[in-house]
């Protein structure tokens, strides 16, 4: 099911790549953004972006058009 895979990629894999895979890259203090060290900023940013990814996944997800759930 191709769309199911895409939903996984967007909703789950993307945040995991951003947080886990890229970890060595974002685990640093410089540059400061909005006053926060970069690593904290990155995590806060991904609070927004994860919600956005899940929103996109939600809109694409055919399971949401089912009547039985």
């Amino acid at each position: 099911m191709k769309s199911r895979l895409l939903i996984f990629l967007v909703g789950l894999v993307t945040p995991m790549v951003a947080i886990l895979l890229l970890f060595p890259w974002w685990n640093r203090v410089e540059p400061f953004v909005f006053g926060f060290p970069f690593n904290y900023f990155w995590v806060f940013l991904w609070m927004f972006l994860t919600a956005a990814c899940l929103y996109i996944a939600f809109k694409m997800d055919p399971a949401n058009r089912r009547e039985d759930e």
């Binding site: 789950l12 945040p15 685990n27 926060f36 060290p37 995590v43 609070m47 994860t50 899940l54 039985d68």
Partner: protein, 494 residues
């Protein structure tokens, strides 16, 4: 003044809990444990955040950031964030299994799917054991709150009163009361956190940047996750993030929350809001680092947030925050005790005595809840502990059900022997494991061993026909209405 506000909040919460009873028609297990699956998106959201954000968040997290800096702060937020992404996919699956099995506890879910009373009892036993630290944590948080703030309430009566209030929530309307009280609790928590964060930022020249630049100059190690030596920080941090993000929605209390939902679609939608709710964390982090800057050398790190609020806020606001913090502790105490009560009465007593009537089981649930709370009070009075590490212990055990649950969704060939053996071995490993390679999270190692054992034993045994039927029913249900009608074999209900 603070005391007055504090007490008013607690009284208000009791009023709300009692009013929640208005929606209740019958008092059976399904209603007290999962509100008969009637929660729409609003209550689903509040029971979710109610259970997740405990006194560990409000008091424990700043305390741990104060002690360990980003090593704690970063992983704490990361595992929760990723857990929400997993939850989008995981929760509807769990809910579907719940619909098929008419489950009201995690013991029901696994017990039904693997057609095994032993699995019911084993799951219940493991969950009850590891939920004890969870409730202990809330009492410890209350202790810290009251000791520091000196509101004029002695610790012992306060702990007893908290336990009584928690019991009132459960005795009036089970999980429903908790959902409604959570509205008050979360409102107070958000207001407190934002106010403290803003006050801290305003108190330092340069605001947020001022705080962090000053920390960067003084003790930069507190701002990043330690990578040298690798074992000290990074491997533990990352392995713990991975481990706990898997376990998050398997915590028996969050399972209760998931099962209250009216629909799978609401669960998915809820998953979208949850990361946004985390936007209170920047304020919490600001307050924690502000404490590091202005109040270094606190003997009890968990005092950090409270010390900041006392130094920056007027008395009535401190009372408000204390009330909110107390509610976070009491609410999670209540839901945890309810979960334990249900697991005990349904999946242990109910298995030993299958003829137990619903009303009896509800009574037993309330009794078990009360005993659990009393036990918690005693532990709190004699063994208060530092908060953050206790959560790790609880997670290490509660996540062991991950293997069973994933097999439930994905593997036809999995058997009750495999799942049971894996769960048992995984749990025992936790107690036996003394050193871990590369500083990896102990629970994760135990989980991998659990998986291995579960696979091997499943392959050596065969699942009975009913177990296979139930797997196929689950698959049929996940595919949708058309698939479900064609060729489904009739099932036994638990």
């Amino acid at each position: 003044m603070a005391l007055f506000v504090f007490c008013s909040i607690l009284v208000l919460s009791i009023v709300i809990a009692v009013l929640a009873r208005r929606g209740v028609v019958t008092s059976n297990m399904s209603d007290i444990m999962v509100a008969s699956g009637s929660f729409g998106p609003f209550l689903l959201f509040f029971i979710s955040v109610g259970e997740i954000y405990s006194i560990g968040t409000l008091v424990g997290a700043p305390g741990a950031i104060y002690s360990h800096g980003a090593n704690y702060g970063i992983w704490f937020m990361c595992y929760i964030l990723l857990a929400y992404a997993i939850g989008y996919f995981f929760n509807p699956a769990l809910w579907r299994l719940g619909q098929l099995s008419k489950a009201v506890t995690i013991g029901d879910l696994l017990g039904w799917r693997f057609n095994s009373k032993a699995i019911q009892m084993l799951t219940a036993a493991v969950c009850i054991m590891f939920l004890m630290p969870w409730v202990q944590n809330q009492f410890a948080g209350m202790a810290i709150l009251l000791k520091y703030l000196n509101l004029g309430i002695d610790f012992t009566p306060a702990v007893i009163i908290s336990a009584i209030i928690a019991f009132i929530y459960i005795a009036t309307a089970g999980i429903r009361s908790s959902a409604y009280v959570s509205i008050l609790k979360d409102a107070l928590m958000i207001v407190s956190i934002v106010v403290i964060g803003v006050a801290a930022a305003m108190a330092v020249p340069g605001g947020v940047g001022g705080i962090f630049h000053a920390i960067a100059a003084k003790s930069p190690k507190l701002l990043t996750v330690t990578t040298q030596p690798v074992t000290a920080g990074a491997t533990f941090t990352l392995s713990t993030i991975v481990f706990q993000m898997l376990g998050f929605y398997l915590l028996p209390i969050t399972v209760q929350g998931t099962l209250t939902s009216k629909s799978a679609k609401n669960l998915r939608r809820n998953s979208i809001y949850m990361p946004l709710y985390m936007l209170m964390f920047p304020f919490l982090v600001i307050a924690a680092y502000y404490a590091l800057l202005t109040i270094p050398g606190l003997k009890v790190p968990d005092y950090a947030l409270l010390a900041v609020s006392v130094s920056l806020l007027p008395s009535w606001l401190v009372g408000l925050m204390a009330g909110g913090a107390a509610l976070t502790g009491i609410l999670v105490m209540a839901v945890t005790a309810l979960t334990v009560g249900g697991l005990f009465s349904k999946n242990i007593l109910g298995v030993i005595n299958p003829d137990m009537k619903q009303t009896q089981m509800v009574r037993w649930t309330q009794v078990a809840t009360a005993i659990f709370l009393i036990g918690g009070v005693i532990l709190a009075l004699y063994y208060p502990t530092l908060m953050a590490s206790v959560v790790t212990v609880a997670y290490s055990g509660l996540t062991q059900t991950f293997v069973g649950m994933m097999f439930a969704f994905l593997w036809k060939r999995s058997t009750k022997w495999g799942v049971g053996a894996g769960l048992l071995v995984g749990t025992v490993t936790l107690f036996l494991l003394k050193t871990v390679p590369y500083g990896l999270n102990k629970g994760l190692i135990a989980l991998l061993i659990n998986l291995l054992v579960a696979v091997v034993v499943s392959l050596m045994t065969t699942p009975d026909q009913e177990t296979v039927n139930r797997f196929e029913a689950y698959i049929a249900k996940s595919k949708g209405p058309v698939a479900a009608k064609a060729g489904a074999t009739p099932l036994q209900v638990v």
